[in-house]
Amino acid sequence: MELQVNGERHLVEVPADMPLLWVLRDMLDIKGPKFGCGVGACGACTVLINGVPTRTCVTAAADVDGEITTIEGLPDGERLHKVQEAWIKHEVPQCGYCQSGQILAAVALLEEVPQPTDADIDAVMTNLCRCGTYPRLRAAIHEAAGMEG
């Protein structure tokens, strides 16, 4: 099967029901998407598929039709995405494990709602962070909303 990841084409030979997460991590060595639960309950494995945040642990690779963007594909060359810049400015990450998923979820939110309210953020940002970075996550999303991008 063929996958389009971060602008590159990959041909892989995998069982039809193999989740995209494990194809990316174990077959293509793309480690940005993280394994957290395997049941769609935490968001650590989030990637964008045609811009839509998708939990890859419950998405069969064979069902994917579209351009996949992982955290590795987010910067424009050396230039970080504004959401990543805002994350650094607010020192959001603690252990950092959930942050690839959080950042991609925030990127998708800002595409849809460029100036989100707290209620918008609460509704969309459902990814789990065991380090409890939520207050800084919220501040960084507001920051990114105010940035040129």
Partner: protein, 758 residues
């Protein structure tokens, strides 16, 4: 290129290996030192100054930060301690975790294991603390835990920086033929009186040959440029670009993938396993048995992680029965039986509560706390290669030395033949001190014919095979005199964490482990004067593994003790804050009084609140940091809405304010998730919860605004990572009582009241 090529991730990713070389000299340490582990690993042109500083001829400065970075910002703080004395700026340095080595022992962690309150500094308490620190050196525990890393590093890291600076000055003085006393440093350069400059890199090879006769003087805190100010964290860029390599991301040539299926009944062996069905799963290569001090089970080796998970499911394992009561009701009965019996030991206390209670009206309350899992965001995992009698182990660990000892014993090799490479940790919270993950990984690696293998646990396996925060049952009695607390009889039943940990890590010492003070931590050692008090531990022993859960025993007793004080305030018609303040009579309790007063001012404590809205207050001293918290809840909608949390923490000295604040906030949210909804229960001898759908934690919408302020009144430095957790559950329960009159004595509160999580 990392400075310790052998150990860096670039090294193990095969992107480059540096030749070993360089000199290790100029090493001064005020106690008899362990050998500097760096020289063998240095690249050409690099020189080590103490086990903590490497300076390259190219003027690169690398600071070894030998503690686990799990998001608490410790690499930044440890590097800042060195940079301050070295005369370099934070933008000029890089950090590396460095190897597992005896030189990196953590003395501060064991110190607070002595059975005395933190503020007790009499001769016996100090001697006991000193002896515990020596034990840390003896065992060379390179452990990150007990919120102790910055305390342990406070002297060591500054001395390392000062030592390196002193020999660099000496080398420059020689070069210029002047006296070193006239030289200054700035941005990693030595400057002479006529404005001449030499870079540290330029001087490194000469300086590394020098030794110091006496320890260099350390700066007075008033001269600090870096410490005491918030520093940008050193590892942020890699954590927003997906470049950070956690244990689960390790990738090696020819690597196999595996998972484990361990007995869900602790201590029980397998009855049957359908190995043929597992082998029939496409991608499954082998099924191997695992027999260790931490559990029995199987490793499923495959060509990718998902195939290994599927293979584990197909095994359809059946297990023998466990030795403990099969369900939570039965376990609770066992705990209560222990409370009916004599205490195992008591700690602290004064007067004669039994006598004082005679004839008085006794207030009684029973409290219950469940087992809790850690659920680090990154599930348990490790990668290992066992070849030619040597084990390479890639592990996100809080205790590399212990992992090396345990795996060496299992494989019948020497600890020196185990090379532990510490990766980034996707959360620790105490879970990553344990030996189960390295043991199972080593057991599997012994059966792959020398090929490396990455072992990843499913989330279900992670939750069902944790080393849990102990379940506890407490029985309390107290009497009042003129409305003020007079006598307290405090009894708590819980298993010993120390014993459980020792059984897993050092079984030969387990039965000799001392009374475990963690059963009573957060009660007897709190800054209160009771005319009469007794604190008794009733120790339980089962095969259910218990371990260090963020703040350990303080999370149990912080809740019980501070909730009960609130009950006594209500019974005596006192304001909960005023009653606490008047019980904190001793001069040494002053930091607690100040923290409580400060948090009360922030929360506008005592203001008239609408019916159905309430504030609760609590204070716990743990890991040397005094933390007071106020929680405000709004129950007018029926459910409990946590509106806001205020916290004041006093660790004596704050090295990095923004980072400290982040740690307190993190610990509060960790405690709030547990207080609202988390519990591990048993049925059929096994843990009933298995994933985030039945063992969840708060998401964005459920977390209220949190305001944190820091004080520096305490006479000694305290920790950052854990002390925010203990007061939280009590402050929340006390707020619910203030809002509704309903007293909650069992965690999690979500079993009795509904929460509005947004």
């Amino acid at each position: 290129m990392g400075k310790i090529a052998k150990y860096t991730r670039r090294g193990f990713l095969g992107l480059g290996l540096a030749a070993a070389g360089g000199l290790a000299v100029g090493y001064y340490y005020y106690k008899k030192p362990y050998p500097n582990p760096l020289p063998d690993t240095l690249a050409e042109g690099d020189f080590s100054f103490t086990p903590y500083v490497i300076i390259g001829s190219d003027n690169t400065i690398t600071i070894i930060t030998p503690r686990a970075e799990m998001g608490q910002g410790i690499h930044t703080t440890l590097a800042a301690l060195v940079a301050e004395e070295l005369g370099a700026d934070m933008d000029q340095i890089a950090t590396e975790h460095g190897p597992a080595a005896a030189a990196y022992y953590n003395g501060a962690m064991l110190k607070e294991g002595a059975p005395f309150p933190f503020f007790e500094d009499g001769f016996i308490a100090e001697t006991a603390r000193g002896a515990m620190g020596v034990l840390g050196k003896f065992l060379a525990l390179q452990v990150t835990g007990g919120s102790s890393a910055a305390i342990d590093g406070f002297e060591k890291m500054r001395e390392a920086g000062a030592t390196a600076r002193a020999v660099l000055l000496e080398a420059a003085a020689k070069r210029w033929g002047v006296d070193a006393s006239g030289l200054t440093t700035e941005r990693a350069e030595v400057i002479n009186q006529s404005g001449g400059r030499l870079t540290y890199g330029d001087l490194a090879s000469e300086a590394a040959k020098l030794t110091l006769a006496k320890p260099p003087a350390l700066k007075d805190p008033s001269e600090w440029r870096i410490l005491g100010k918030s520093q940008p964290r050193v590892e942020l860029h890699e954590k927003v670009t997906g470049a950070a390599i956690y244990g689960i991301d390790v990738q090696l040539p020819d690597m196999l993938y595996a998972t484990v299926a361990m007995s869900p009944r602790f201590g029980a062996k397998a009855k049957s396993a359908d190995e043929a069905a597992a082998m029939a799963v496409p991608g499954v290569l082998n099924v191997v048995e695992i027999i260790t001090t931490t559990g029995y089970g199987f490793g499923i080796i495959a060509s990718n992680t998902w195939a290994a998970f599927e293979g584990a499911r197909a095994l359809a394992l059946e297990w023998e029965a466990a030795d403990y009561p099969a369900d939570t009701t039965g376990l609770k009965a066992l705990w209560n039986e222990a409370l009916d019996k004599e205490a195992s030991f008591t700690l602290g206390g004064e007067g004669d509560p039994e006598e004082a209670m005679l004839g008085a009206e006794v207030i009684e309350a029973n409290y219950s706390l469940p087992y809790l899992a850690h659920t680090t965001m990154e599930p348990m995992n490790a990668t290992a290669q066992f070849k030619d009698g040597k084990l390479d182990l890639w592990l996100g660990t809080q205790a590399p030395g212990i992992a090396a000892m345990a795996t060496a014993k299992l494989l019948g090799i020497e600890p020196e033949d185990v090379n532990v490479i510490t990766t980034r940790l996707g959360g620790g919270f105490g879970r990553r001190t344990e030996v189960d993950v390295p043991l199972y990984t080593a057991a599997i690696a012994a059966q792959t014919g020398g090929k490396p293998v990455k072992v990843t646990w499913s989330r279900e396996e992670d939750i069902r095979h944790d080393t849990y925060r102990p379940m506890a049952e407490a029985r309390l009695k107290a009497t009042l005199k003129d409305g003020m607390p007079e006598a307290l009889d405090y009894r708590v039943a819980a298993p010993s964490i120390n014993k459980s940990v020792m059984r897993r890590s050092f079984p030969e010492f387990a039965e000799r482990s001392n009374p475990d003070r963690s059963i009573l931590d957060g009660s007897f050692d709190q800054p209160f004067s009771w005319p009469h008090s007794r604190f008794a531990a009733h120790q339980i022993d089962t095969d259910i593994p218990v371990g260090f859960w963020r703040s350990v025993g303080n999370s149990i007793n912080g809740f019980v003790h501070e909730s009960f004080l609130d009950e006594l305030a209500a019974a005596g018609g006192q304001d909960p804050l005023a009653m606490r303040l008047s019980m904190m009579k001793d001069e040494r309790h002053a930091p607690a009084r100040e923290a409580l007063k400060a948090v009360a001012a922030m929360a506008n404590w005592g203001q008239a609140l609408p019916e159905g809205v309430g504030q609760g207050i609590a204070h716990t001293l743990s890991f040397g940091t005094w933390v007071a918290e106020v929680v405000q809840v709004d129950m007018r909608g029926g459910a409990v809405k946590v509106e806001k949390i205020w916290a004041v923490a006093d660790p004596g000295m704050v090295l990095d304010p923004a980072n400290f604040e982040a740690q307190i906030t993190s610990a509060i949210i960790y405690g709030l998730s547990a207080a609202i909804g988390q519990e591990i229960t048993f049925d059929d001898g096994r843990v009933m919860q298995e994933n985030f759908y039945d063992y969840d934690a708060l998401r964005m919408a459920g977390v209220p605004p949190i305001e944190v302020a820091l004080l520096e009144n305490s006479p000694r430095m305290g920790g950052a990572g854990e002390p925010g957790t203990p007061p939280l559950a009590a402050a929340l329960g006390n707020a619910i009582f203030a809002a509704s009159g309903q007293r909650l004595r069992a965690l999690p509160f979500g079993n009795e009241v509904e929460f509005d999580l947004g």
